[in-house]
Symmetry: C2
């Protein structure tokens, strides 16, 4: 059923049934929470905390074990799988000494867990949902409309303001990410924070009042000076840093001259299809490379360089 390109991206393989229609019921939440099979992931600030089993890492705690590490600030329901209900628990940022001397627990950032293959894809998918949702609660303790404190509702899927009655929901931020191509060449850029030699697709937040395609054309012009014609959707990806929906497109360059926005990019240049094949394989003679398969950029590049996708 998940045959599309989106399913190849990191963080996308989430097996949970979110049971959204039952979230508003306090009885459902209590029953899920009380289930003997209930388990939870644990996030300290925005850092995943995992169990070190001796044979590897396990993302899931029972509630009693989670409580011994930190006091739950929020407990959200993520969904159920064939093993039972799955929750996310947010605790305070841990001081480094808290876990010192404990070899049964590890703190590791989610990017490392993904790129080093330390968790299976399904668990990474659950983590993307849980970390985005918990981090949203962490950043939304007050009502943006009136400034009062808000409280969690709907099993973690909204916050409510008793002051003005406003309801707030955890929406992902849509981001356009695009490979712009002209024949056998494409444009990639690099930000100063990237590892040396890495180039990637250009990207930017979609704004109010524009279509996906217009956002692609605006971002490409702003960052690279390139005028764009056709734009075609290829894949999307949930990106939990903190909570984006990456919408991946391939776009047709109408112009070639680069006028780089050096506030956003350290460099931006044209690459050939052969360059990209070598960059994907890690064999580029000049040491250039591109993001790993966890990132949607990798799949956009592969779709064009290897699968013959065009705008």
């Amino acid at each position: 059923m998940r045959s599309e390109r989106s399913a190849d991206t990191g963080y996308s393989a989430n097996p949970l049934d979110r049971l959204a229609a039952q979230r508003d019921s306090a009885e459902s939440f209590a029953a899920w929470r009380a289930a003997p099979t209930a388990r939870t992931i644990l996030v300290a600030g925005d850092v995943p905390i995992l169990r070190n089993t001796g044979n590897g890492l396990d993302a899931f705690f029972d509630f009693a074990a989670a409580e011994r590490i930190g006091t739950a600030q929020e407990t959200v329901f993520l969904g159920t799988d064939d093993r039972g209900p799955v929750f996310g628990v947010l605790i305070d940022t841990l001081e480094p000494e808290t876990l010192q001397g404990r070899d049964d627990v590890a703190a590791l950032d989610l990017r490392s867990l993904a790129t080093q293959g330390l968790l299976d894809p399904a668990t990474l998918g659950i983590y993307a949902e849980g970390k985005s949702l918990l981090d949203w609660h962490r950043r939304h303790g007050f009502c943006a409309r009136c400034g009062e404190r808000t409280t969690m509702g709907a099993a973690g899927w909204k916050r409510e303001c008793a002051g003005c009655g406003a309801q707030h929901f955890p929406r992902p931020d849509p981001v356009a990410i695009m490979l712009v191509v002209k024949g056998d060449r494409c444009v990639m850029g690099r930000q100063a924070r990237f590892l040396p030699g890495i180039y990637s697709c250009l990207a930017g937040f979609i704004e109010p009042g524009e279509t996906m395609e217009d956002a692609v054309r605006r971002e490409l012009f702003e960052e690279s000076g390139i005028r764009t014609g056709k734009v075609r959707y290829l894949a999307s990806q949930p990106w939990p840093f903190p909570s984006s929906l990456m919408i991946g497109c391939i776009a047709e360059a109408l112009t070639e001259e680069l006028v780089v926005d050096y506030d956003e990019l350290e460099d931006c240049r044209w690459f050939t299809r052969e360059d990209v094949k070598h960059m994907l394989a890690g064999t580029h003679a000049a040491g250039f490379s591109c993001p790993p398969p966890v990132a949607i950029a990798h799949h956009l590049l592969r779709a064009w360089a290897h699968d013959g996708e065009t705008p």
Copy 2:
């Protein structure tokens, strides 16, 4: 350059160059604001205020005329077109008597302006950007992280908190809207608030931790009980009520039995391609119809019924 299906949807024809790279410059903002050609749209609460010229409605005021109607709470820069810089001004919700006896000014909700064709498509596009952005400021006067008051920055494209340093940005909420089909039949539903006889595509907010395609499958199962296979993107649309990005897809139904979520829908049923053609044309014998061309649902239905699009 805008040949895609998204360009046919309402509110999508926005001609402005947003000049995003210059928004952070107070000098740029002052220069745009001082330009003799500067003009602004005017929104009272969330209601557009327009000039009645005697020959129709004009969306644009000069700043002096706008100030005579209400005191600006926020002034945001929307972009420039070939006539000059375009702004949006937010004023308080007007009491009905404020405009009584004035035949030079009209207050009309944006849906009516769109469906009755009272503004040209480009102006509707500018309005979609302006109303979404101004309404976001109206709903975000306080910092969600710490509860302090926030102030506008970046020419209207962020809010800043002096208390904790947080920056907040106006992101649209991504919504999946989908036509689920099986051969020559498709599913549509109606909400109780719809006008009598109107059926439309199912839709729902995309959540953290899911791809666009998975959101489509989840929403379809939650609202209609249908299991979905392939999902294909067709078009997107900015939807300024208050600020969504509608992401339109066509999806393959794997099952036929309907299990309707009556909390969300008043009714949900299968329709034939012939039904849909008549509903689009307003000639359905049973009086059924579907949303007008301003809505992306209309274009998804047309793409399937008339253009032969498949999942």
